[in-house]
Protein backbone atom coordinates (compact mmCIF):
# COMPACT_ATOMS: atom_id res chain seq x y z
CA UNK A 1 0.00 0.00 0.00
CA UNK A 2 1.46 3.32 -1.00
CA UNK A 3 1.64 6.30 1.35
CA UNK A 4 -0.57 8.34 -0.92
CA UNK A 5 -3.29 5.73 -0.83
CA UNK A 6 -2.98 5.39 2.92
CA UNK A 7 -3.68 9.04 3.42
CA UNK A 8 -6.74 8.90 1.22
CA UNK A 9 -8.27 5.64 2.33
CA UNK A 10 -8.91 4.46 5.86
CA UNK A 11 -7.30 1.20 6.94
CA UNK A 12 -10.65 -0.54 7.06
CA UNK A 13 -13.84 0.84 5.61
CA UNK A 14 -17.27 -0.67 6.17
CA UNK A 15 -19.62 0.99 3.72
CA UNK A 16 -23.41 0.69 3.94
CA UNK A 17 -23.27 -2.99 4.76
CA UNK A 18 -26.60 -4.81 4.84
CA UNK A 19 -27.29 -8.47 5.48
CA UNK A 20 -30.45 -10.47 5.03
CA UNK A 21 -30.81 -14.14 5.87
CA UNK A 22 -33.29 -16.55 4.36
CA UNK A 23 -35.81 -15.70 1.70
CA UNK A 24 -34.89 -18.72 -0.42
CA UNK A 25 -38.20 -20.36 0.47
CA UNK A 26 -41.43 -18.61 -0.29
CA UNK A 27 -43.06 -19.28 3.10
CA UNK A 28 -40.06 -17.80 4.89
CA UNK A 29 -39.61 -14.06 4.53
CA UNK A 30 -36.00 -12.83 4.61
CA UNK A 31 -34.75 -11.54 7.97
CA UNK A 32 -32.70 -8.38 7.93
CA UNK A 33 -29.87 -8.72 10.43
CA UNK A 34 -27.57 -5.81 9.57
CA UNK A 35 -28.98 -2.53 8.27
CA UNK A 36 -26.80 0.04 6.50
CA UNK A 37 -23.79 -0.01 8.79
CA UNK A 38 -20.85 2.21 7.88
CA UNK A 39 -17.65 2.89 9.77
CA UNK A 40 -14.02 3.72 9.11
CA UNK A 41 -11.32 2.15 11.22
CA UNK A 42 -7.77 3.48 11.40
CA UNK A 43 -4.61 1.42 11.58
CA UNK A 44 -3.93 0.19 15.11
CA UNK A 45 -7.35 1.23 16.36
CA UNK A 46 -9.19 -0.92 18.88
CA UNK A 47 -12.91 -1.09 18.12
CA UNK A 48 -15.55 -2.63 20.35
CA UNK A 49 -19.03 -3.74 19.26
CA UNK A 50 -21.78 -3.67 21.86
CA UNK A 51 -25.41 -4.52 21.45
CA UNK A 52 -28.29 -6.70 22.62
CA UNK A 53 -28.08 -10.43 22.14
CA UNK A 54 -29.05 -11.58 18.66
CA UNK A 55 -28.82 -8.12 17.12
CA UNK A 56 -26.28 -9.08 14.47
CA UNK A 57 -22.82 -8.34 15.91
CA UNK A 58 -21.41 -11.74 15.03
CA UNK A 59 -22.87 -11.46 11.56
CA UNK A 60 -21.26 -8.06 10.98
CA UNK A 61 -17.93 -9.32 12.30
CA UNK A 62 -18.12 -12.33 9.97
CA UNK A 63 -18.81 -10.03 7.03
CA UNK A 64 -15.72 -7.99 7.90
CA UNK A 65 -13.75 -11.25 8.11
CA UNK A 66 -15.04 -12.38 4.72
CA UNK A 67 -16.75 -15.44 6.20
CA UNK A 68 -20.16 -14.11 5.24
CA UNK A 69 -20.97 -12.01 2.22
CA UNK A 70 -22.92 -8.78 2.58
CA UNK A 71 -26.29 -8.56 0.84
CA UNK A 72 -25.29 -5.05 -0.18
CA UNK A 73 -22.51 -2.62 0.64
CA UNK A 74 -18.85 -3.51 0.94
CA UNK A 75 -15.90 -3.90 3.25
CA UNK A 76 -12.55 -2.54 2.09
CA UNK A 77 -9.31 -3.48 3.85
CA UNK A 78 -6.18 -1.48 2.89
CA UNK A 79 -7.77 -0.41 -0.36
CA UNK A 80 -8.82 -3.91 -1.31
CA UNK A 81 -12.38 -5.15 -1.30
CA UNK A 82 -12.98 -8.10 1.03
CA UNK A 83 -14.20 -11.07 -0.99
CA UNK A 84 -13.47 -13.98 1.30
CA UNK A 85 -11.56 -15.10 4.36
CA UNK A 86 -7.77 -15.11 4.43
CA UNK A 87 -4.82 -14.71 6.77
CA UNK A 88 -5.03 -10.91 6.88
CA UNK A 89 -8.26 -11.07 8.81
CA UNK A 90 -7.64 -13.17 11.91
CA UNK A 91 -10.71 -14.50 13.65
CA UNK A 92 -11.21 -15.70 17.22
CA UNK A 93 -14.55 -17.48 17.47
CA UNK A 94 -17.18 -17.41 20.16
CA UNK A 95 -16.89 -21.18 20.62
CA UNK A 96 -13.65 -23.06 21.07
CA UNK A 97 -12.18 -23.65 17.66
CA UNK A 98 -8.82 -25.12 18.69
CA UNK A 99 -8.01 -28.53 17.22
CA UNK A 100 -8.42 -31.49 19.61
CA UNK A 101 -5.91 -33.71 17.77
CA UNK A 102 -3.08 -31.24 18.38
CA UNK A 103 -1.32 -30.23 21.58
CA UNK A 104 -1.47 -26.67 22.90
CA UNK A 105 1.84 -25.74 21.27
CA UNK A 106 0.98 -27.52 18.01
CA UNK A 107 -2.30 -25.64 17.89
CA UNK A 108 -0.53 -22.31 18.24
CA UNK A 109 2.02 -23.41 15.69
CA UNK A 110 -0.77 -24.20 13.28
CA UNK A 111 -1.28 -20.44 13.09
CA UNK A 112 2.14 -20.09 11.44
CA UNK A 113 1.66 -23.04 9.10
CA UNK A 114 0.66 -21.11 6.01
CA UNK A 115 2.96 -18.16 6.56
CA UNK A 116 5.55 -17.76 3.85
CA UNK A 117 7.24 -14.69 5.30
CA UNK A 118 9.17 -16.64 7.95
CA UNK A 119 11.18 -19.84 8.13
CA UNK A 120 10.75 -23.04 10.10
CA UNK A 121 12.85 -21.95 13.02
CA UNK A 122 11.08 -18.63 13.39
CA UNK A 123 7.71 -20.35 13.27
CA UNK A 124 8.59 -22.36 16.34
CA UNK A 125 10.03 -19.33 18.12
CA UNK A 126 6.95 -17.25 17.42
CA UNK A 127 4.68 -20.07 18.57
CA UNK A 128 6.60 -20.36 21.84
CA UNK A 129 6.50 -16.62 22.29
CA UNK A 130 2.71 -16.53 22.05
CA UNK A 131 2.42 -19.67 24.16
CA UNK A 132 4.17 -17.82 26.99
CA UNK A 133 2.31 -14.62 26.32
CA UNK A 134 -1.08 -16.23 26.97
CA UNK A 135 0.37 -17.91 30.06
CA UNK A 136 0.23 -21.52 28.90
CA UNK A 137 3.96 -22.24 28.98
CA UNK A 138 3.56 -25.22 31.28
CA UNK A 139 0.74 -26.71 29.20
CA UNK A 140 2.59 -26.85 25.88
CA UNK A 141 2.22 -30.62 25.46
CA UNK A 142 -1.34 -30.98 26.72
CA UNK A 143 -4.11 -31.88 24.32
CA UNK A 144 -6.59 -29.01 24.23
CA UNK A 145 -9.46 -31.05 25.61
CA UNK A 146 -7.38 -31.76 28.70
CA UNK A 147 -7.30 -28.07 29.62
CA UNK A 148 -10.07 -25.74 30.79
CA UNK A 149 -12.40 -23.82 28.50
CA UNK A 150 -10.70 -20.53 29.30
CA UNK A 151 -7.31 -22.00 28.46
CA UNK A 152 -8.68 -23.30 25.17
CA UNK A 153 -9.82 -19.81 24.32
CA UNK A 154 -6.33 -18.50 25.06
CA UNK A 155 -4.94 -21.13 22.70
CA UNK A 156 -7.27 -19.88 19.99
CA UNK A 157 -6.16 -16.28 20.56
CA UNK A 158 -2.48 -17.25 20.50
CA UNK A 159 -3.01 -19.26 17.33
CA UNK A 160 -4.60 -16.28 15.59
CA UNK A 161 -1.83 -13.94 16.78
CA UNK A 162 0.80 -16.37 15.52
CA UNK A 163 -0.71 -16.12 12.05
CA UNK A 164 0.13 -12.37 12.05
CA UNK A 165 -3.15 -10.98 10.73
CA UNK A 166 -3.55 -7.30 9.78
CA UNK A 167 -6.66 -7.06 11.88
CA UNK A 168 -7.89 -9.15 14.80
CA UNK A 169 -11.59 -10.01 14.83
CA UNK A 170 -12.71 -11.36 18.18
CA UNK A 171 -16.19 -12.59 19.01
CA UNK A 172 -16.64 -12.51 22.78
CA UNK A 173 -13.34 -14.28 23.29
CA UNK A 174 -13.29 -13.79 27.07
CA UNK A 175 -16.94 -14.65 27.63
CA UNK A 176 -16.17 -17.94 29.35
CA UNK A 177 -13.29 -16.78 31.53
CA UNK A 178 -13.16 -15.99 35.23
CA UNK A 179 -12.70 -12.36 36.29
CA UNK A 180 -8.97 -12.56 37.09
CA UNK A 181 -7.96 -14.31 33.88
CA UNK A 182 -10.18 -11.97 31.99
CA UNK A 183 -8.56 -8.84 33.37
CA UNK A 184 -5.11 -10.26 32.87
CA UNK A 185 -5.86 -11.12 29.25
CA UNK A 186 -7.49 -7.75 28.58
CA UNK A 187 -4.26 -6.04 29.57
CA UNK A 188 -2.18 -8.52 27.59
CA UNK A 189 -4.34 -8.03 24.53
CA UNK A 190 -4.06 -4.24 24.69
CA UNK A 191 -0.32 -4.54 25.10
CA UNK A 192 -0.03 -6.84 22.08
CA UNK A 193 -2.17 -4.60 19.92
CA UNK A 194 -0.20 -1.54 20.99
CA UNK A 195 3.23 -3.10 20.43
CA UNK A 196 2.28 -4.61 17.09
CA UNK A 197 0.07 -1.66 16.09
CA UNK A 198 -2.65 -4.10 15.30
CA UNK A 199 -6.22 -3.06 14.63
CA UNK A 200 -8.92 -5.08 16.33
CA UNK A 201 -12.67 -5.44 16.42
CA UNK A 202 -13.86 -6.95 19.64
CA UNK A 203 -17.42 -8.05 20.39
CA UNK A 204 -18.50 -8.16 24.02
CA UNK A 205 -21.48 -7.95 26.35
CA UNK A 206 -19.41 -6.72 29.24
CA UNK A 207 -19.58 -2.94 29.62
CA UNK A 208 -16.42 -2.60 31.75
CA UNK A 209 -14.51 -4.72 29.30
CA UNK A 210 -15.76 -2.58 26.43
CA UNK A 211 -14.74 0.70 28.02
CA UNK A 212 -11.40 -0.61 29.21
CA UNK A 213 -10.40 -1.99 25.81
CA UNK A 214 -11.89 0.37 23.28
CA UNK A 215 -10.49 3.33 21.46
CA UNK A 216 -13.96 3.62 19.99
CA UNK A 217 -17.07 1.63 20.80
CA UNK A 218 -20.12 1.15 18.63
CA UNK A 219 -23.48 0.57 20.23
CA UNK A 220 -25.90 -1.33 18.01
CA UNK A 221 -29.68 -1.46 18.09
CA UNK A 222 -31.61 -4.70 18.37
CA UNK A 223 -32.05 -6.62 15.13
CA UNK A 224 -31.49 -5.41 12.47
CA UNK A 225 -28.25 -3.93 13.79
CA UNK A 226 -27.79 -0.24 13.13
CA UNK A 227 -25.30 2.02 14.84
CA UNK A 228 -27.08 3.86 17.66
CA UNK A 229 -24.11 5.64 19.05
CA UNK A 230 -20.42 5.85 18.46
CA UNK A 231 -18.56 6.43 21.72
CA UNK A 232 -15.13 7.97 21.46
CA UNK A 233 -13.43 6.47 24.46
CA UNK A 234 -9.79 7.19 23.62
CA UNK A 235 -10.28 10.95 23.69
CA UNK A 236 -11.55 10.80 27.28
CA UNK A 237 -9.58 7.91 28.66
CA UNK A 238 -6.40 8.27 26.62
CA UNK A 239 -4.72 5.53 24.65
CA UNK A 240 -2.77 4.10 27.60
CA UNK A 241 -4.64 1.76 29.93
CA UNK A 242 -3.53 -0.13 32.98
CA UNK A 243 -5.08 -1.66 36.06
CA UNK A 244 -5.65 1.81 37.56
CA UNK A 245 -7.63 2.99 34.57
CA UNK A 246 -10.70 1.30 35.98
CA UNK A 247 -10.56 3.49 39.07
CA UNK A 248 -10.44 6.81 37.23
CA UNK A 249 -13.38 9.17 37.16
CA UNK A 250 -13.65 9.33 33.40
CA UNK A 251 -13.84 5.52 33.35
CA UNK A 252 -16.84 5.71 35.69
CA UNK A 253 -18.52 8.29 33.51
CA UNK A 254 -18.03 6.32 30.35
CA UNK A 255 -19.05 3.08 31.96
CA UNK A 256 -22.28 4.56 33.29
CA UNK A 257 -23.06 6.12 29.96
CA UNK A 258 -22.56 2.87 28.08
CA UNK A 259 -24.47 0.93 30.70
CA UNK A 260 -27.45 3.29 30.33
CA UNK A 261 -27.34 2.79 26.58
CA UNK A 262 -27.30 -0.97 27.01
CA UNK A 263 -30.21 -0.86 29.46
CA UNK A 264 -32.27 1.31 27.16
CA UNK A 265 -31.68 -1.14 24.31
CA UNK A 266 -32.65 -4.09 26.45
CA UNK A 267 -35.82 -2.32 27.55
CA UNK A 268 -36.80 -1.47 24.00
CA UNK A 269 -36.22 -5.05 23.02
CA UNK A 270 -38.54 -6.22 25.80
CA UNK A 271 -41.22 -3.70 24.92
CA UNK A 272 -41.24 -4.67 21.29
CA UNK A 273 -41.34 -8.39 22.02
CA UNK A 274 -44.17 -8.11 24.57
CA UNK A 275 -46.40 -6.24 22.14
Amino acid sequence: MSAAMASKLPFLRVREVEKEFGGERRDEPPIKVVDKVSMDIAEGEFIVYLGPSGCGKTTLLRIVGGLESASSGEVVLSGEKVRGPDRRKGMVFQAYASFPWLSVLENIKFGTRYRTDIGKKEKLEISKYYLDLVGLGSYADFYVNRISGGMRQRVAIARTLASAPDILLMDEPFGALDAQTREFLQEQLLEICRVEKKAAIFVTHDVEEAVFLADRAFMFSSRPATIIEEIDIASELGPERDSRTKESESFFHLRNHVRDLMRRQARELQDSSSQ
Partner: protein, 274 residues
Protein backbone atom coordinates in the same frame (compact mmCIF):
# COMPACT_ATOMS: atom_id res chain seq x y z
CA UNK B 1 -10.14 -55.89 60.38
CA UNK B 2 -13.87 -55.55 60.88
CA UNK B 3 -13.63 -52.18 59.24
CA UNK B 4 -11.88 -53.57 56.18
CA UNK B 5 -14.42 -56.34 55.53
CA UNK B 6 -17.18 -53.84 56.17
CA UNK B 7 -15.57 -51.59 53.54
CA UNK B 8 -15.32 -54.48 51.08
CA UNK B 9 -18.95 -55.37 51.57
CA UNK B 10 -19.95 -51.77 51.06
CA UNK B 11 -17.88 -51.59 47.91
CA UNK B 12 -19.51 -54.74 46.60
CA UNK B 13 -22.93 -53.30 47.33
CA UNK B 14 -21.97 -50.09 45.59
CA UNK B 15 -20.68 -52.00 42.57
CA UNK B 16 -23.91 -53.97 42.33
CA UNK B 17 -25.94 -50.80 42.64
CA UNK B 18 -24.01 -49.06 39.86
CA UNK B 19 -24.40 -52.09 37.60
CA UNK B 20 -28.19 -51.99 37.76
CA UNK B 21 -28.51 -48.20 37.97
CA UNK B 22 -30.01 -46.48 34.95
CA UNK B 23 -27.02 -45.42 32.81
CA UNK B 24 -24.74 -46.22 35.74
CA UNK B 25 -20.96 -45.96 35.70
CA UNK B 26 -19.23 -48.88 34.01
CA UNK B 27 -16.47 -50.89 35.62
CA UNK B 28 -14.02 -52.68 33.34
CA UNK B 29 -13.40 -55.65 35.62
CA UNK B 30 -17.05 -56.16 36.43
CA UNK B 31 -17.92 -55.95 32.73
CA UNK B 32 -15.30 -58.56 31.91
CA UNK B 33 -16.48 -60.90 34.65
CA UNK B 34 -20.10 -60.55 33.54
CA UNK B 35 -19.16 -61.21 29.93
CA UNK B 36 -17.33 -64.40 30.89
CA UNK B 37 -20.23 -65.48 33.08
CA UNK B 38 -22.76 -65.01 30.28
CA UNK B 39 -20.51 -66.92 27.89
CA UNK B 40 -20.13 -69.76 30.37
CA UNK B 41 -23.89 -69.90 30.81
CA UNK B 42 -24.31 -70.09 27.04
CA UNK B 43 -21.89 -73.05 26.84
CA UNK B 44 -23.62 -74.75 29.77
CA UNK B 45 -27.04 -74.47 28.13
CA UNK B 46 -25.53 -75.84 24.91
CA UNK B 47 -24.10 -78.87 26.74
CA UNK B 48 -27.35 -79.56 28.54
CA UNK B 49 -29.38 -79.40 25.33
CA UNK B 50 -27.14 -82.01 23.69
CA UNK B 51 -26.56 -84.22 26.73
CA UNK B 52 -30.26 -84.44 27.55
CA UNK B 53 -30.89 -85.50 23.96
CA UNK B 54 -33.21 -82.58 23.22
CA UNK B 55 -31.36 -82.13 19.94
CA UNK B 56 -29.52 -85.07 18.38
CA UNK B 57 -25.75 -84.70 18.28
CA UNK B 58 -25.81 -85.11 14.51
CA UNK B 59 -27.39 -81.65 14.29
CA UNK B 60 -25.82 -80.04 17.29
CA UNK B 61 -22.40 -81.44 18.26
CA UNK B 62 -20.97 -80.79 21.71
CA UNK B 63 -18.96 -77.57 22.06
CA UNK B 64 -15.88 -79.67 22.83
CA UNK B 65 -16.30 -81.58 19.57
CA UNK B 66 -16.54 -78.33 17.60
CA UNK B 67 -13.40 -76.94 19.20
CA UNK B 68 -11.52 -80.20 18.64
CA UNK B 69 -12.60 -80.28 15.00
CA UNK B 70 -11.56 -76.69 14.55
CA UNK B 71 -8.14 -77.28 16.09
CA UNK B 72 -7.64 -80.30 13.82
CA UNK B 73 -8.73 -78.35 10.75
CA UNK B 74 -6.32 -75.56 11.60
CA UNK B 75 -3.46 -78.02 11.02
CA UNK B 76 -4.78 -79.05 7.60
CA UNK B 77 -3.39 -77.24 4.58
CA UNK B 78 -6.62 -77.11 2.56
CA UNK B 79 -8.51 -75.44 5.39
CA UNK B 80 -5.73 -72.94 6.05
CA UNK B 81 -5.75 -72.18 2.35
CA UNK B 82 -9.50 -71.55 2.48
CA UNK B 83 -8.99 -69.13 5.36
CA UNK B 84 -6.21 -67.35 3.54
CA UNK B 85 -8.27 -67.05 0.35
CA UNK B 86 -11.23 -65.56 2.18
CA UNK B 87 -9.07 -63.15 4.20
CA UNK B 88 -7.32 -61.99 1.03
CA UNK B 89 -10.64 -61.44 -0.77
CA UNK B 90 -12.10 -59.53 2.17
CA UNK B 91 -9.09 -57.27 2.58
CA UNK B 92 -8.60 -56.75 -1.13
CA UNK B 93 -12.20 -55.71 -1.65
CA UNK B 94 -12.27 -53.68 1.55
CA UNK B 95 -9.19 -51.68 0.62
CA UNK B 96 -10.48 -51.14 -2.89
CA UNK B 97 -13.78 -49.95 -1.50
CA UNK B 98 -12.09 -47.58 0.96
CA UNK B 99 -9.74 -46.30 -1.73
CA UNK B 100 -12.73 -45.03 -3.69
CA UNK B 101 -15.13 -44.21 -0.89
CA UNK B 102 -12.89 -41.98 1.24
CA UNK B 103 -11.92 -39.43 -1.43
CA UNK B 104 -15.34 -39.46 -3.07
CA UNK B 105 -17.09 -39.09 0.28
CA UNK B 106 -14.90 -36.14 1.23
CA UNK B 107 -15.42 -34.66 -2.19
CA UNK B 108 -19.17 -34.96 -1.79
CA UNK B 109 -19.03 -33.10 1.51
CA UNK B 110 -16.78 -30.40 0.08
CA UNK B 111 -18.61 -29.61 -3.14
CA UNK B 112 -22.35 -29.36 -3.52
CA UNK B 113 -22.14 -30.15 -7.19
CA UNK B 114 -20.54 -33.53 -6.56
CA UNK B 115 -23.06 -34.33 -3.83
CA UNK B 116 -26.00 -33.30 -5.99
CA UNK B 117 -24.75 -35.48 -8.83
CA UNK B 118 -23.82 -38.58 -6.87
CA UNK B 119 -26.18 -38.72 -3.92
CA UNK B 120 -29.27 -40.00 -5.80
CA UNK B 121 -27.29 -42.79 -7.51
CA UNK B 122 -25.53 -43.80 -4.32
CA UNK B 123 -28.77 -43.83 -2.37
CA UNK B 124 -30.49 -45.92 -5.00
CA UNK B 125 -27.79 -48.57 -5.29
CA UNK B 126 -27.40 -48.66 -1.52
CA UNK B 127 -30.93 -50.04 -1.26
CA UNK B 128 -30.37 -52.86 -3.73
CA UNK B 129 -29.93 -56.08 -1.74
CA UNK B 130 -26.48 -57.45 -2.42
CA UNK B 131 -27.56 -61.12 -2.78
CA UNK B 132 -29.84 -60.01 -5.62
CA UNK B 133 -26.81 -58.60 -7.40
CA UNK B 134 -24.75 -61.78 -7.14
CA UNK B 135 -26.23 -63.54 -10.22
CA UNK B 136 -25.74 -60.40 -12.28
CA UNK B 137 -22.18 -59.93 -11.11
CA UNK B 138 -21.42 -63.56 -11.94
CA UNK B 139 -22.77 -63.04 -15.45
CA UNK B 140 -20.52 -60.03 -15.80
CA UNK B 141 -17.39 -61.17 -14.02
CA UNK B 142 -17.59 -64.98 -14.12
CA UNK B 143 -16.99 -67.11 -11.06
CA UNK B 144 -13.38 -66.09 -10.54
CA UNK B 145 -11.90 -63.62 -8.09
CA UNK B 146 -13.29 -60.61 -9.91
CA UNK B 147 -16.88 -61.44 -9.12
CA UNK B 148 -16.09 -61.94 -5.41
CA UNK B 149 -14.39 -58.58 -5.24
CA UNK B 150 -17.28 -57.03 -7.16
CA UNK B 151 -19.88 -58.40 -4.73
CA UNK B 152 -17.98 -57.11 -1.72
CA UNK B 153 -17.32 -53.79 -3.36
CA UNK B 154 -20.97 -53.29 -4.29
CA UNK B 155 -21.99 -54.28 -0.79
CA UNK B 156 -19.70 -51.80 0.97
CA UNK B 157 -18.70 -48.93 -1.27
CA UNK B 158 -22.09 -47.22 -1.42
CA UNK B 159 -22.65 -47.48 2.31
CA UNK B 160 -19.15 -46.29 3.08
CA UNK B 161 -19.36 -43.24 0.81
CA UNK B 162 -22.32 -41.91 2.74
CA UNK B 163 -20.68 -42.65 6.09
CA UNK B 164 -17.54 -40.79 5.01
CA UNK B 165 -19.62 -37.84 3.76
CA UNK B 166 -21.38 -37.72 7.12
CA UNK B 167 -18.10 -37.85 9.02
CA UNK B 168 -16.75 -34.97 6.97
CA UNK B 169 -19.93 -32.93 7.35
CA UNK B 170 -19.91 -33.32 11.11
CA UNK B 171 -16.66 -31.37 11.46
CA UNK B 172 -17.47 -28.11 13.29
CA UNK B 173 -17.80 -25.17 10.93
CA UNK B 174 -15.35 -23.22 13.10
CA UNK B 175 -12.56 -25.67 12.24
CA UNK B 176 -12.88 -25.02 8.54
CA UNK B 177 -13.34 -21.28 9.00
CA UNK B 178 -10.33 -21.11 11.33
CA UNK B 179 -8.37 -22.75 8.55
CA UNK B 180 -9.40 -20.07 6.06
CA UNK B 181 -8.58 -17.20 8.42
CA UNK B 182 -5.17 -18.78 9.10
CA UNK B 183 -4.48 -18.65 5.39
CA UNK B 184 -5.21 -22.22 4.26
CA UNK B 185 -6.47 -22.98 0.75
CA UNK B 186 -9.34 -25.46 0.30
CA UNK B 187 -7.12 -28.47 -0.41
CA UNK B 188 -4.91 -27.57 2.54
CA UNK B 189 -7.99 -27.43 4.75
CA UNK B 190 -9.00 -30.86 3.54
CA UNK B 191 -5.57 -32.32 4.21
CA UNK B 192 -4.59 -30.49 7.39
CA UNK B 193 -7.94 -30.01 9.14
CA UNK B 194 -10.75 -32.10 7.69
CA UNK B 195 -8.87 -35.39 7.51
CA UNK B 196 -7.30 -35.33 10.99
CA UNK B 197 -10.56 -34.07 12.49
CA UNK B 198 -12.65 -36.85 10.97
CA UNK B 199 -10.06 -39.62 11.27
CA UNK B 200 -11.32 -41.20 14.52
CA UNK B 201 -14.86 -41.66 13.23
CA UNK B 202 -13.55 -42.64 9.81
CA UNK B 203 -11.53 -45.48 11.32
CA UNK B 204 -14.61 -46.61 13.23
CA UNK B 205 -16.66 -46.68 10.07
CA UNK B 206 -13.95 -48.57 8.19
CA UNK B 207 -13.91 -51.15 10.97
CA UNK B 208 -17.66 -51.60 10.67
CA UNK B 209 -17.39 -51.86 6.88
CA UNK B 210 -14.78 -54.57 7.23
CA UNK B 211 -17.35 -56.52 9.23
CA UNK B 212 -19.87 -56.28 6.38
CA UNK B 213 -17.24 -57.62 4.01
CA UNK B 214 -17.27 -60.86 5.99
CA UNK B 215 -21.01 -61.16 5.52
CA UNK B 216 -20.85 -60.66 1.78
CA UNK B 217 -17.82 -62.90 1.22
CA UNK B 218 -19.67 -65.88 2.65
CA UNK B 219 -22.67 -65.14 0.45
CA UNK B 220 -20.42 -64.88 -2.60
CA UNK B 221 -18.46 -68.02 -1.75
CA UNK B 222 -21.54 -70.11 -1.12
CA UNK B 223 -23.10 -69.18 -4.44
CA UNK B 224 -20.11 -69.73 -6.66
CA UNK B 225 -16.59 -70.54 -5.55
CA UNK B 226 -14.07 -73.32 -5.48
CA UNK B 227 -12.30 -72.08 -2.38
CA UNK B 228 -12.74 -69.95 0.72
CA UNK B 229 -14.36 -70.51 4.09
CA UNK B 230 -17.85 -70.01 2.65
CA UNK B 231 -17.21 -72.68 0.05
CA UNK B 232 -15.84 -75.02 2.72
CA UNK B 233 -18.88 -74.58 4.96
CA UNK B 234 -21.23 -75.17 2.06
CA UNK B 235 -19.49 -78.31 0.86
CA UNK B 236 -19.36 -79.83 4.36
CA UNK B 237 -23.12 -79.25 4.64
CA UNK B 238 -23.66 -81.77 1.86
CA UNK B 239 -22.13 -84.54 3.98
CA UNK B 240 -23.95 -83.30 7.08
CA UNK B 241 -20.60 -82.73 8.75
CA UNK B 242 -22.04 -80.42 11.37
CA UNK B 243 -18.83 -80.06 13.46
CA UNK B 244 -16.94 -78.95 10.33
CA UNK B 245 -19.68 -76.50 9.37
CA UNK B 246 -19.67 -75.04 12.85
CA UNK B 247 -15.87 -74.87 12.90
CA UNK B 248 -15.93 -72.81 9.73
CA UNK B 249 -18.43 -70.41 11.27
CA UNK B 250 -16.40 -70.25 14.47
CA UNK B 251 -13.23 -69.39 12.57
CA UNK B 252 -14.99 -66.49 10.85
CA UNK B 253 -16.18 -65.25 14.22
CA UNK B 254 -12.73 -65.48 15.74
CA UNK B 255 -11.06 -63.68 12.83
CA UNK B 256 -13.70 -60.98 12.97
CA UNK B 257 -13.35 -60.54 16.71
CA UNK B 258 -9.55 -60.40 16.61
CA UNK B 259 -9.48 -57.89 13.75
CA UNK B 260 -12.07 -55.75 15.45
CA UNK B 261 -10.20 -55.77 18.75
CA UNK B 262 -6.90 -55.00 17.02
CA UNK B 263 -8.38 -51.98 15.24
CA UNK B 264 -10.03 -50.81 18.46
CA UNK B 265 -6.73 -51.09 20.32
CA UNK B 266 -4.98 -49.13 17.59
CA UNK B 267 -7.76 -46.56 17.73
CA UNK B 268 -7.37 -46.13 21.48
CA UNK B 269 -3.62 -45.77 21.24
CA UNK B 270 -3.61 -43.50 18.25
CA UNK B 271 -6.42 -41.15 19.25
CA UNK B 272 -5.40 -40.64 22.84
CA UNK B 273 -6.89 -37.17 22.90
CA UNK B 274 -10.44 -38.48 22.63
Amino acid sequence: MVDATGGAAARRRQLLASLVAFRGKSNARANFALGIAAFALFIAVWYSIVLTGTVPERFLPLPGTVVQTMLRLLTEAHFLNDIWVSVARVWGAFLLSALFAVPIGIWMSNYRLVAALLEPIVDFIRYLPVPALVPLLIIWFGIGEASKIAVLWMGTFFQLVLLVTDDAKRIPREFVESGFTLGAKPNQITRDILLPAMLPSLVDNLRITLGWCWTWIIVAEIVAAKSGIGHYIWSMRRFLKTPEVMSGILVIGIIGLLTDQAIRAWHRRHFRYL
